[in-house]
Each structure stands twice: as structure tokens, then as C-alpha cells.
């Protein structure tokens, strides 16, 4: 399933306008502890978090994550959006909780 298909299915907002969303999502994680994401992340993941500062982009980029999904209506910092856009990492936002988003992704076959 691609990032765009997930955006459409869950009605997510693409915060990084114009960034390519055709990439395949191959797994996921829900975590706000960047240290743990660094230690356990895998390429192609959709990362669900409420952390919105610029360091999330570095972590996502180093791991080659497919996208970052900011949950629970948290507002994404402007410099985070700018940095993610320049790195080509889609940042998606939703009012749903991380629990709800993860459950839906899992149900859609992203495991």
C-alpha cells in the first residue's frame, strides 16, 4: 500500500505539499521516544508520533521511513515541515489518536 492510498483511505492531511507520495509502506511503528525509534526503526515504515520538532525528520530520513504521521491533532512545527519537504519525506496529519491510526493501518494489511 502506498502513502497516497493511506492518505485517501484515512483522510489524512498531507502537510508537506508537493512531496512524492507514491512510495510503498512496508511496516509501521507508534512511538514518541526518538531513542527507541532510532534503535528499532526499519526502512519503509510509517511512523506515527506526536513529536513534531525538527529532529523527527532526521530520524525518519536516516531510517528511510516511508512517511511520518502526526496524530491526535498535534500541530507540526513550520521548520519540521520545511525540512521534511526538502528531504522528500511526506508528513501526514490527523485528528485521530495514534492507537486508532495504527489499528486502521494494521487492518489494511500494513503489518
Amino acid at each position: 500500500m502506498t502513502v497516497q492510498q493511506v492518505i485517501d483511505a484515512l483522510n489524512l492531511k498531507l502537510v508537506t505539499e508537493g512531496v512524492d507520495t507514491s512510495r510503498e509502506i512496508t511496516g509501521g511503528c507508534v512511538c514518541d521516544l526518538l531513542s527507541l525509534v532510532m534503535a528499532s526503526g526499519e526502512e519503509g515504515m510509517a511512523w506515527i508520533t506526536v513529536q513534531t520538532h525538527i529532529n523527527v525528520v532526521a530520524v525518519a530520513s536516516l531510517h528511510d521511513f516511508a512517511c511520518i504521521i502526526v496524530s491526535s491533532g498535534c500541530e507540526v512545527d513550520a521548520d519540521t515541515v520545511e525540512k521534511a519537504a526538502s528531504e522528500g519525506i511526506p508528513v501526514l496529519a490527523s485528528e485521530m489518536s495514534g492507537y486508532e491510526i495504527a489499528g486502521k493501518l494494521y487492518g489494511m494489511g500494513i503489518k
Binding site: 514518541d32 521516544l33 526518538l34 531513542s35 527507541l36 525509534v37 532510532m38 534503535a39 526502512e43 513529536q51 520538532h53 525538527i54 529532529n55 525528520v57 532526521a58 530520524v59 530520513s61 536516516l62 531510517h63 528511510d64 521548520d79
Partner: protein
């Protein structure tokens, strides 16, 4: 660890005290460099993760330092050196979950006491030397081929 000379490639990145916003730029640059040199993606990934952990540690804990990436025909060496303050108990710092990070740093999602163990896990050889009042040097080797 053995001393190595005559690196085929070397790149240095400075990290200042409290440089959170820019942490990750050095690792990203190293990652691009290694990719361009044709290093396998699994090794690139491990170097990038270790280097990011080192960068974050320098930003959080050190009074400033630098990261040096050296590429040899059979391995990659990553060295993190800082100018202080040094680590008092080297066993404790390698213990998962131990951290001296401030509440502010923890709010950002760091300081969980996972950085050092993660660097060790990512590298094939890991060496930590430190002297209080002087500084800390971490040397990590990654085998090629």
C-alpha cells in the same frame, strides 16, 4: 583498537553544545557520502544510525566536539571526540536506561539511555575512552565486504 592510517576518504563534522536543530546533518552527509562511494545499504544504515546517536550525544552532553568518518578498503571508522566534560563511570553509561539527560531533552524524546548501547549494537567494534575534565572519544568500526 588498532590504529589505522591512510584512509581513502575522510570527512569531519563539528557538533556544538546544544546543537539540536542541526543534529542529524552530519549523519545525513555521511550517509550520502557512503552511498556515493558504493557502500552496501545495510552498512550505510548502521553507520548513519550510530553517527546520529553520536551527534545527539554531542549536542546533549558535550561541551562541543566532532565526528570523523574515515573510509578504508576493508572498513569504515567513525570517531566521536569531544572537549568535555568526560564520563565518570563507563560501565554505567553503557547500561541500557541510564541517562543524565535533562527533563527538557527527555521531552524531545531523547535521553532514554539507549544511545550508547545502540552505537555498540550497530558497530562491529566499539571502544569508549573518557577522562573527566578532559573529554570522551568513541571509536566505532564497521567491516566492509
Amino acid at each position: 583498537m588498532a590504529d589505522y592510517t591512510n584512509a581513502t576518504f575522510e570527512e569531519v563534522r563539528e557538533v556544538g553544545k546544544g546543537d539540536f536543530a542541526t543534529a542529524g546533518q552530519g549523519s545525513a552527509a555521511f550517509k550520502n557520502t557512503l552511498k556515493k562511494l558504493g557502500v552496501g545499504s545495510a552498512v550505510v544504515r548502521r553507520v548513519a544510525i550510530a553517527s546520529y546517536e553520536a551527534e545527539i550525544n554531542l549536542a546533549i552532553h558535550s561541551d562541543g566536539g566532532k565526528l570523523t568518518l574515515s573510509v578504508y578498503p576493508d572498513k569504515i571508522r567513525l570517531v566521536s571526540e569531544d572537549i568535555g566534560p568526560g564520563i565518570a563511570d563507563l560501565d554505567l553509561v553503557m547500561q541500557e536506561g541510564y541517562s543524565t539527560a535533562t527533563e527538557e531533552v527527555r521531552m524531545l524524546g531523547f535521553g532514554a539511555g539507549m544511545g550508547m548501547p545502540n552505537m555498540k549494537r550497530c558497530s562491529d567494534e566499539f571502544d569508549l575512552k573518557s577522562a573527566v575534565g578532559k573529554g570522551t572519544t568513541i571509536t566505532m568500526d564497521f567491516k566492509l565486504g
